[in-house]
Amino acid sequence: MKNTLFLGALACTALTAGVAGAATLDEVKARGTLNCGVTTGVPGFAEPDANGVWQGFDVAVCRAVAAAVLSDPNAVEFVPTTGKTRFTALASGEIDMLARNTTWTFSRDVDLKFEFTGVNYYDGQGFMAPKDLGVTSAKELDGATVCIQTGTTTELNLADFFRANGISYEPVPIETGAEAVQQYNAGACDVYTTDASALAAQRANFEDPAAHVIMPEIISKEPLGPLVRHGDNEWADIVRWTLNALITAEELGVTSANLNELAAGSDNPEINRLLGTEGDLGGMLGLDADWAERAIGVAGNYGEIFEKNIGESTPIGLARGLNAQWTDGGLLYSPPFR
């Protein structure tokens, strides 16, 4: 079939006029699956398990959107992308949304013409060093050799940080976390820098985690979130509010345990609006009334997803920190459902 398509494409030099990009929502519904761009693997955030089923924190967002739109959390085609290919994949329409540890920056939003639909993890670039190096602050790293995991804004932040502090360093750019850890453990670099979440994940799996310290400086803001193409606001709304629904659900105490009970109706009007027993928020999105119920039903609310994939009980062992609800001193603050 592929061959015939290809021959067809070649044979008809017939230059079909550019098909105006149909609405993504209709396309997804017609296709029956959601094409979701993820990483090629970041522990806890997106990784296929031994059975080949994608698991992780970013993956959960994809599944929630699929559940909201297609009523099936498994109707997702996960498209692994690298740092190089992720934007091309999204721009060319190969994927409908990208949930891949992507930092929300001005130029990506404006210049590359994407729409960030929110933040599902507040990260920042940190440093890790062996304890016996005796370094307590990143500002003492003058002349150090620094392992950098390339592919994100890491190099730029690092260059800016050292420049701003007037100290020098030797960069060792490395493609994958595994190779960076090899180098770091062999002492080929003094410090290892990447997103603090990845540092914590790697450290938790060292032979002796206590022998390494993560320094207090977080040298960048890395709001990571799902993004879609510019120009299709209906679709962007769906992704944005699905994420918000997960966050709001935690704030309102809607969990996978009490979801069915609350979906029958409750005393809290916002819960009712969220779960579709009051108002018609789903209709406004072009979905049905219990879209959010389905999204939350996949793996619970934001807090539950966090705990299950990257929380302190997992080998990744991340604390909520900035990613706690605003009521708990974190930054998670979903606009109200009304």
Binding site: M1, A9, A14, E47, A50, G52, P80, E94, T176, P315
Partner: protein, 515 residues
């Protein structure tokens, strides 16, 4: 002397004395060791150095290998079992065995399909590899293999590959039919085909001219270069506008004219036939047939394939596709027509001059822009296109070597028999040139097969991509390093070593001269 002897000898030995055993240092293992290992101070030093190196490697690797843990669920469990001792964690191979071989996404209940395809590949390769011992009728099996393998790997209905096969066979029938027609019948066919081809070509060229104009207007005028390019495209466009009707008429007429000797009309008719069948007949026919007698396997998409299987697939598909393309390029490079020769040289030298990795980047991020919007070729197909182009250029050079090695007399003999170019090439030149080129082609194939690991750079999950991505980045096997790479190296070594041994054997077989 002689007579004294004859008289004085009291005893004449009648049997020969058995040879006394050679001195111990000149016999058996000792001699072998002396001659091969310690003949002279230089050799002795070399031997000692070599032994030292081997010893160091064994001492370094042995405990790690011997202490290996084969049964654990994660790298943390492995460490617990080892309790700080040196040792490998081979458990990752057990745990992710399927992923390493088939990728993480291939349906688990369908693993038998690639396995069967692999076994059949070996069976199908035998008649081609050992053509001198196997009756040539077994080659039919080899020819059928791609269709069967396509069905096994990608699934879907068996009728699709069968329909494609039927289309190809039908094209062959058409070819023979037109070739064997009487001239008067063929004139009618040539007239119809010439008309269709002429009109079709003119239409395509008209579209092309329009397209060129469109390009020239949208390049923009920023800068001298853009202005120049715009002018160039305008010139091309005008050129095409002027010539699209004469070209159509001319080609149609040429086909009509060729009715007498049959060369062109046969070719064009066959091409038209296969194009039409592929576009309009294969899909519906296979659909209908599947409706009547459904023979189906669950469809698997190419992006679900991975692991070592993906390397094998890319290697096999690209090499087999690139051989015909390579032949065409090699012949083109030998051509006496400057334009065709130039195009072939530019293509070959360009492809050979850039690293495969940049071509893969092209496949990944650029190629999509070259196809009509929304045609959405999948990554596998794009990569196959680029790798095929890549290996075709190398194979073309190997075949060019083969062509150059043929004595000039072969070409002259073909000419003097009155064969035309196509006949001479098909019957005399290529069979000999290809035979000389086989070892070279096998070497290119091995190189290409190894290069398939580069697709890991563009987020495809071949065995290296599988290791660097989903395995090293999984919570269970985070940052495991040596064991999976060693496994990948072993897989490649087994396959490549066997192929290169075969190639050397073949080279000896083909070497009939003594120098």
């Amino acid at each position: 002397m002689s007579d004294t002897q004859a008289q004085t000898v009291a005893f004449v030995r009648e049997t020969e004395i058995p040879p006394s055993p050679p001195p111990i240092r000149e016999a058996g293992a000792v001699k072998w060791v002396r001659e091969n290992l310690f003949s002279g101070w230089f050799n002795t030093i070399m031997t000692l150095v070599a032994l030292y190196i081997i010893l160091r490697i064994v001492i370094g690797v042995f405990p790690w290998f011997f202490n290996g843990v084969w049964d654990a669920g994660s790298i943390r469990e492995c460490r617990d079992i080892l309790e700080g001792a040196t040792g490998a964690c081979f458990a990752v191979l057990v745990d992710r065995w399927d992923h390493l071989l088939f990728g993480f996404n291939y349906p688990q209940d369908a693993y038998w399909r690639p396995t069967l395809a692999f076994v059949l590949l070996i069976l199908a390769a035998v008649p081609a590899l050992f053509y001198m011992y196997v009756p040539s009728k077994f080659l039919i099996g080899t020819a059928l293999y791609p269709f069967l393998a396509y069905w096994l790997l990608w699934g879907g209905t068996l009728w699709l590959p069968i329909a494609v096969l039927a289309a190809i066979i039908l094209t062959g029938v058409v070819f023979r039919l037109v070739e064997s027609m009487t001239v008067s019948t063929r004139t009618i066919v040539a007239g119809i085909v010439g008309l269709v081809a002429g009109v079709g070509l003119a239409y395509l060229l008209y579209l092309g001219a329009k397209e060129l104009w469109f390009i020239s207007t949208s390049i923009g005028t920023g800068g001298a270069f853009a202005g120049l390019m715009s002018l160039v495209f305008k010139a091309f466009s005008i050129f095409t506008y002027v010539f699209f009707i004469p070209m159509g008429i001319f080609v149609g007429y040429a086909i009509y004219q060729s009715a007498s000797d049959g060369g062109l009309v046969t070719l064009v008719t066959s091409l038209l036939a296969i194009a039409l069948m592929m576009l309009y007949a294969v899909g519906p026919v296979s659909g209908v047939l599947n409706g009547i007698i459904p023979i189906e396997l669950a469809a698997v998409e190419s992006r679900q394939m991975g692991g070592f299987m993906l390397c094998m697939m890319l290697g096999a598909v690209c090499v087999s596709l690139s051989i015909p393309l390579g032949i065409v390029l090699a012949l083109g490079r030998q051509s006496s027509m400057p334009l065709i020769k130039g195009v072939c040289i530019v293509f070959i030298e360009f492809v050979r001059g850039v690293p495969l990795i940049t071509l893969l980047f092209v496949a990944n991020v650029m190629l999509a822009y070259f196809f009509p919007p929304g045609s959405g070729l999948d990554l596998f197909l794009r990569v196959v296109i680029m790798i095929t182009m890549f290996s075709a250029a190398y194979i073309a050079e190997v075949i060019r070597g083969g062509l150059a090695a043929l004595p000039k007399g072969q070409y002259e003999a073909a000419d003097s028999l009155g064969l035309n170019y196509a006949q001479a090439t098909r019957l005399i030149i290529l069979p000999q040139a290809l035979k000389i080129s086989i070892p070279g082609i096998v070497n290119v194939a091995v190189g290409l097969f190894k290069d398939t690991t580069l697709v890991s750079v563009i987020s495809m999950f071949d065995i290296v991509g599988m290791i660097r991505g989903p395995i090293q980045q999984s919570t269970d096997w985070i940052s495991i390093y040596w064991e999976p790479y060693l496994f990948a190296a072993t897989c490649f070594f087994i396959v490549c070593y066997s192929i290169s041994q075969y190639s050397q054997w073949l080279e000896r077989q083909l070497q009939t001269d003594h120098h």
